[in-house]
């Protein structure tokens, strides 16, 4: 079978280091004490050109907030996120996203675009499809009217929409087509990175495959890098080169797709994988499901040890006391679990660059 996912290059395009986002929330009554909710608690990863990094986890694990913080749609309290604007394979030209001024940020956002979950809610219902796709090009003054007009038609063809429909409004399109419009808008500025936040979750299964194929196809043609946020691990497996599993604001495991599914190191990844139904009754009966007890704890809780300890099926006595570190246990395979901490390849290192997943 032909492989559709092209191999990524080694040139990094997006680097996130120790990203932290927290919100002040009050829980309970009117005068309740304000608490700190750590939505993203020290997330680091590097994304390469032409690569898809899957970001998975259950609701509330901070995967969407991570994406939003990179684009500064929510303020982050600490960390770094930078984008490499170098076109060729030469030394990277890093531009800081989190420290950029408002006008600088605007320029940088041209290179990092986003596709949202709800295809209807993310399109202005009063604008025609043509003007929705043209708007980013007008804002960035990429060309004159004629040029923009032509580009809109080109983009529509590229995402599989008939350019004759450009004067129609979003409500005249189906969910799958609206998502194509959203993709065309994201492509309008010729970005290097597209952050896809659950791009197919709202679509029916038969339509889902159409949109996923389009994303893969665009990546191959344009060398795009994706951060692909989803809760459906079956989809993520097919589309991603590497996958990061998040739990309560932290990446608990990061590996290439083969190792993550075949030999998961973190008990949470194991449980997550075992819970996903497979459309094959015989396999379903033969599978052993790891039952997690209880719910995800509140992210306002303070943890001295591993945040997963309360639900873990492999919990050890010291798990709730010692915080595990995200360490590289095999080349490219990172996990934060005390079970494996002793056999990690090399002792934990102090330097930021060395101890962050590349």
């Amino acid at each position: 079978m032909s492989s559709v996912v092209a191999g990524p290059s080694t040139q990094p395009v997006l680097e996130v280091r120790d990203l932290r986002v927290s919100f002040e929330v009050s829980q309970g009554g009117f005068r309740a004490k304000r608490q700190l909710l750590r939505a993203v608690d020290g997330v680091s990863f590097t994304l390469h050109r032409g690569e898809t990094l899957g970001l998975v986890g259950e609701s509330g694990c901070g995967k969407s907030t991570t994406a939003r913080a990179i684009l500064r749609l929510v303020p982050s309290v600490a960390g770094r996120a930078r984008v490499n604007l170098r076109e060729d394979d030469g030394p990277p030209e890093w531009h800081d996203l989190l420290g950029a001024s408002t006008s600088q940020l605007r320029g940088l956002r041209q290179h990092v675009q986003m596709i949202f979950q709800d295809p209807y809610a993310s399109l202005n219902p009063r604008m025609t499809v043509g003007s929705i796709i043209a708007e980013p090009m007008q804002i960035f003054r990429l060309g004159n009217r004629r040029w923009i007009e032509e580009n809109v038609e080109k983009l529509m063809r590229e995402v599989g929409l008939d350019p004759r429909l450009k004067r129609r409004y979003p409500h005249e399109f189906s969910g799958g087509q609206c998502q194509r419009i959203g993709i065309a808008r994201a492509l309008a500025l010729d970005p290097k990175v597209i952050i896809c936040d659950e791009p197919v979750s709202a679509l029916d299964v038969s339509i889902r495959a159409q949109v996923l194929n389009l994303l893969v196809d665009l990546q191959r043609r344009r060398g795009l890098a994706y951060v692909f946020i989803a809760h459906d691990l079956s989809v993520v497996r097919r589309i991603s080169h590497r996958i990061a599993v998040m739990y309560l604001g932290k990446i608990v495991e990061l590996a290439d797709d083969h190792h993550l599914y075949a030999e998961p190191l973190h008990p949470y990844t194991e449980a997550l994988l075992s819970a996903i139904p497979i459309p094959d009754p015989e396999k379903e009966r033969a599978r052993k499901r790891i039952a997690l007890s209880g719910d995800v704890p509140s992210p306002t809780e303070e943890f001295a040890g591993c945040p997963f300890a309360s639900r873990c099926h492999k919990v050890m006595p010291h798990c709730s006391e010692v915080m595990p570190k995200l360490l590289e246990h095999r080349p490219g395979h990172w996990a934060s679990c005390l079970l494996h901490e002793n056999d990690a390849a090399g002792a934990p290192q102090k330097s930021d660059a060395a101890s962050s997943p590349q």
Binding site: S234, R238, P279, P281
Partner: protein, 341 residues
Amino acid sequence: MTDTLLEVRNLRTSFPTRDGIVRAVSGIDLTVARGASIGIVGESGSGKSVTNLTIMGLVPSPPAVIEADAISFEGVDLLTMRESRRRHLRGNRMAMIFQDPMTSLNPFLRIGEQLTEPLLVHGKASRRAAKDRAMTLLREVGIPDAERCMRAYPHQFSGGMRQRVMIAMALTCEPALLIADEPTTALDVTIQAQILEQMQRIRQEHGTAIVLITHDLGVAAGFCDEIHVMYAGKIVEEAATDDLFAQPRHPYTEALLRSVPRLDDETKAEFLPIRGAPPDLSQLPPGCSFAPRCDYRLDRCERVEPMLEPVEGRDSRRKSCHVDITRTQPVAANSTEESVP
């Protein structure tokens, strides 16, 4: 099967709208035996929810037009039944749980009040006995601190806990039939696994028949003994779960199974979508509704509507298709562009 609980013959539910008559369900037969677990699988708009809401008597008519040759439940005809008697059945002998537990629970009432309500309304228990029963049920669906749960309000719970409460509520009167409409779709996968397991246990222990409505073929594969696949308001294929997944006989079932990426599939092969989009239910084509998207289409398919007929002479396995897809090569799809709205 002799011990039939629910029997539906040629059910049709349609909604007159400004743009014409929307035929949400157009001719469904469904037989549910006591203690069975039946899956109804389909995409949004396939009529799976409307079918079950109609069976529950929860589709207001008018405006909806409901017609059927027969709907009988425990041997009683539901079609001609007065609303007051119907209400006596609902929540008592037949119960339903919905996708979104938050919108199905009353935010102003404590869980305990909502849980005991069915028993009190149906006059099945005293206040005290109802409370005991509610607590037992909460423990049964896996809520550890039942006492505290009874006094809590819905907003104090997570989605998974709320869905457990919903299940407990549906079970209070020990119904013979439980219709679960996408009960785990709004939940995370680890919680989904817990809930499905809980429901399976309840079915085994109480002999409750469960009709599970889902779009997730994986969920249906693990939960149901028998599956009905719906498309555009009709059942296009029905079979025992193992048979259906081993060899789908309807082109839609086959295409649906192929389009879903599987966790155990390590290839990076292209996704195989179904081209086009489902039909407009107010303008259904004269022949097979799936014909415009079908890779096996014959000329006849666009003119003559196929009937749901037994495959290989077995009554448990039926499909509505003119083509024997096991002996026919699909015609290569040459147009992948989506249809113009």
